[in-house]
């Protein structure tokens, strides 16, 4: 991180006279303004990425603790069992209430505090302005505010573990009326709602900034069809965040009213809890929460996946030394995907009894949305055809994304059709499905992005050997974690069982032994993240130094110094051609960057 802001000096020397006076004041920024309350998109991007990575590790740790309770139910947790305190464990054995907290917070943290901040806040902030040739985001102060509101949301979520009664425990979906009546008079769920309001506000500020930046600050000559695919993916993602998040904000406010002011938005009449009728006015509609929640949370799936697809597109074009296959088709698909993602949400709700007509509508739209997803995946796959591929660490992760996302996507089809969803609903099949999309899918793409843009952010390359250990280890382990879950789910094993289903009436014949295999693989997966952590920090200090364009890439960010100084570019960038002109016949070298006028 040091490198990012200090190397600005080189950039200033060459800047226009006009801009020079303005930039001069930035030299005198103290430590706090330069690194903590920075308004530079690169520093903010790195802050987002680092915070996101820490939360990913934290969310993963929660899952590793849960996995113990599933693999070895009613046995004391080794090593850390004694630290957890009597409200969470009894004689070292996990309490069901604590398992529920871990489950709810694992989902919340991974999605809202880990993957999205890394994919959008981190990569979007750092890479996108560079790729469009902008000196910064359109609204730098708003950008800083967006990070700090996100940080506040994260702190709120973390604090909720330590209030009496513990963190939220109604699942990451917080379904009403359970979430309203859970932990009465305690703060857990209420803090979850406050945390979500912070996170939504943060992503609102961020998405306005992203769209304005992409629309307004593109460099001279950078027309819409010359934008890198990553920028398109970020643009569509920003629209999803902008328009899908507010309904959840509304829902959050309504649930807060239900919890604190005793209203009945989600509380139906005649609700009996613990053999006592609830004293609420009633007349509310619990299904309404699910509609408002999934109206956000389905587009949210694409918020997780689209930036990943963008990253993979960049890396595949660069390492196949070929243009992306069907660039325009990719762009149109990603726009159509964004649009469709607003009208598929109720395919999460086939089991709620909302009616067959609505189910029929939503399963139709769900089948339609699979078309652009498959087009994108196919185009990325076809891009490999006939290429002489460079198997660099980022490329390995990007390549792994393709089959992993394909498995995740295709296993989603039976869940999108109401008849086959009914037996699979709330089983481990669902868990396996969406984790294939998000974990070996999106998170692998994010790792690819870290290895790919690390040299741009720091001026140093990450170590390839450690990178490959990280990749192969993670790839093998993560498949051993999630593949058996399909089997368990098809056998009917329910999700959200704190003992892995041991005491559940229908445990006969369930493949519970697989829980041990999954647990072992998950803990080994944790160990295989160590090479990455070591690599990350060691490369900051000892990594091989690089010039502007270490990967021989074509997009604009590689024309800026590594790391770029304040204001990003030494001279105003001008774009002469499309984003992926690799191996142009007749050209002297196998890449023709967007920023070079002649095909030398």
């Amino acid at each position: 991180m040091d490198k990012v802001a200090t190397s600005g000096t080189a950039a200033h020397g060459h800047a226009h006279d006009h801009a020079h006076a303005h930039e001069h004041e930035h030299h005198e920024l103290g430590f706090w303004r330069a690194y903590i309350f920075s308004q530079d998109h690169k520093v903010i991007g790195i802050q987002y990425a680092l915070t996101g990575l820490v939360f990913l590790l934290f969310g993963f740790t929660l899952m590793m603790i849960m996995r113990w309770s599933m693999a070895y139910p009613i046995r004391p947790i080794p090593l850390i069992g004694s630290w957890l305190g009597p409200s969470r464990v009894a004689q070292g054995i996990m309490l069901p209430e604590f398992y529920n907290q871990l489950g709810a917070m694992h989902g919340t943290i991974m999605v809202f505090l880990g993957v999205v901040p890394l994919a959008v806040g981190g990569f979007g902030n750092f890479v996108m302005p560079l790729q469009i040739g902008a000196p910064d985001m359109a609204f730098p102060k708003l950008n800083m505010a967006s990070y700090w509101v996100y940080f506040l949301g994260g702190v709120t979520m973390l604090v909720s573990f330590f209030v009496p009664g513990g963190a939220a425990m109604s699942g990451w979906t917080s379904y009403a009326p359970l979430s309203v009546i859970a932990q009465p008079g305690q703060l857990g769920q209420t803090l979850w709602l406050f945390g979500m309001v912070f996170l939504i506000t943060s992503s609102l500020l961020g998405s306005v900034n992203f769209i304005v930046t992409i629309v307004q600050l593109r460099a001279k000559g950078l027309t819409w069809m010359r934008l890198p695919f990553f920028v398109w993916a970020q643009l569509v993602t920003a629209f999803l965040l902008l328009l899908a998040f507010p309904p959840l904000e509304a829902a959050g406010v309504l649930q807060l009213m239900d919890r604190r002011a005793g209203t009945s938005f989600f509380m139906p009449s005649g609700l009996v809890v613990g053999n006592k009728p609830l004293t609420v006015s009633g007349g509310g509609n619990p299904l309404m929460w699910q509609h408002l929640f999934w109206f956000l949370a389905h587009p949210e799936v694409y918020v997780l996946v689209l930036p990943a697809m963008g990253i993979v597109g960049e890396i595949i074009a660069n390492n196949t030394r070929k243009p992306l296959w069907g660039y325009r088709t990719l762009v149109y698909s990603v726009i159509f995907l964004g649009f469709m993602s607003f009208i598929v949400w109720a395919h999460h709700m086939f089991m709620t009894g909302m009616g067959t007509t609505i189910s029929a509508f939503f399963q139709t739209t769900t089948m339609i949305i699979s078309i652009p997803s498959v087009i994108i995946l196919t185009a990325l796959l076809l891009s490999l055809w006939g290429a002489s591929i460079r198997f660099t660490t980022p490329m390995l992760f990007a390549l792994a994304f393709l089959p992993m996302f394909a498995i995740g996507g295709l296993t989603g089809l039976p869940l999108g059709l109401a008849p086959s969803d009914i037996p699979l609903h709330d089983t481990y099949y669902v868990i396996a499905h969406f984790h294939y999309v998000v974990a070996p899918g999106t998170i692998f793409a994010l790792f690819a992005g870290i290895y790919y843009w690390f040299p741009k952010a720091t001026g140093r390359r990450m170590n390839d050997v450690l990178g490959k250990i990280h990749f192969y280890g993670s790839f093998v382990c993560i498949n051993i974690v999630f593949m058996p879950m399909f089997i368990q789910g098809l056998a009917g094993m329910n999700r959200r069982m704190y003992d892995g289903g041991l005491l559940y009436a229908h445990n006969q014949g369930l493949p519970l032994k697989l829980n041990i295999v999954i647990g072992m693989a998950a803990w080994t997966l944790g160990l295989f993240q160590l090479p990455f952590i070591i690599n990350f920090f060691a490369s900051l200090k000892w990594g091989k130094k690089v010039e502007e364009n270490p990967w021989d890439a074509t997009t604009l960010e590689w024309s800026a110094p590594s790391p770029p100084g304040h204001g990003n570019f030494l001279t105003e960038p001008i774009v002469y051609r499309g984003p992926y002109e690799y191996s142009v016949p007749g050209a002297a070298k196998d890449f023709s960057p967007q920023f070079e006028p002649e095909r030398a």
Binding site: S207, V212, F245, P246, E249
Partner: protein
């Protein structure tokens, strides 16, 4: 390099950054209030009975005209800047602020009346949605007042250094204010009359 198009418009999009930003923000606000109005519709269509005449139509009506009036003064505040008449701008901006304040005072009397009669949000889903929607709308009014107070106070310095950018900011404030006004124009018939 400085960030371009903060004041002047970009030729191919015809926009400056601030204007596009405020429109996008308003789009997300439409989704926020859209979700609340949908909630209202779902609750009402699912209700066995829906109360009528619990709200004071005259106070609501008065507030409607106050807000419409404040939208007019807001436009005048911006137009005066375009006519280079800063004292008049200031007068109209303060008038808008005062009208917004009167709206809130009215709202306070309404709320106080309900609360003394024991008509709390927990009493019925109607009162729940009434308090939630008007409460959120009220917060938007407060937000607008904070922005106006800033531009009438310390923010006004910008008129001397960057008049164009200052009037752009007032325009954006105005767009936001008209939206808040518009939400009330939907809220009034939906909650008070229907």
């Amino acid at each position: 390099m400085e960030i371009p198009y903060t004041v002047e418009t970009r030729p191919d999009t015809g926009l400056h950054n601030c204007k596009l930003g405020i429109w996008l923000f308003l789009a997300s606000e439409v989704m926020l209030f859209g979700a609340l109005f949908s909630t209202y519709i779902i609750l009402r269509t699912g209700a066995v009975e829906w109360p009528h005449g619990e709200l004071n139509v005259w106070l609501g009506m008065a507030n409607t005209f106050i807000l419409i009036g404040s939208s007019v003064t807001m436009v005048m505040a911006w137009a005066s800047l375009k006519l280079n008449d800063f004292p008049k701008h200031r007068l109209y901006l303060i008038a808008t602020f005062v009208l917004a304040g009167i709206f809130l005072v009215n709202k306070y009397f309404e709320y106080a009346d309900h609360i003394t009669r024991g008509e709390l949000p927990s009493h019925s889903t109607f009162l729940a949605i009434y308090f939630t929607m008007t409460g959120l709308h009220g917060l938007h009014i407060v937000g607008g007042m904070v922005v106006m107070a800033y531009f009438a106070g310390p923010g006004a310095k910008m008129w001397k250094t960057k008049p164009e950018q200052f009037s752009n900011r007032i325009e954006a404030t105005g767009l936001y204010w008209h939206f808040v006004d518009l939400v009330w124009i939907f809220l009034f018939p939906v909650l008070y009359l229907l």
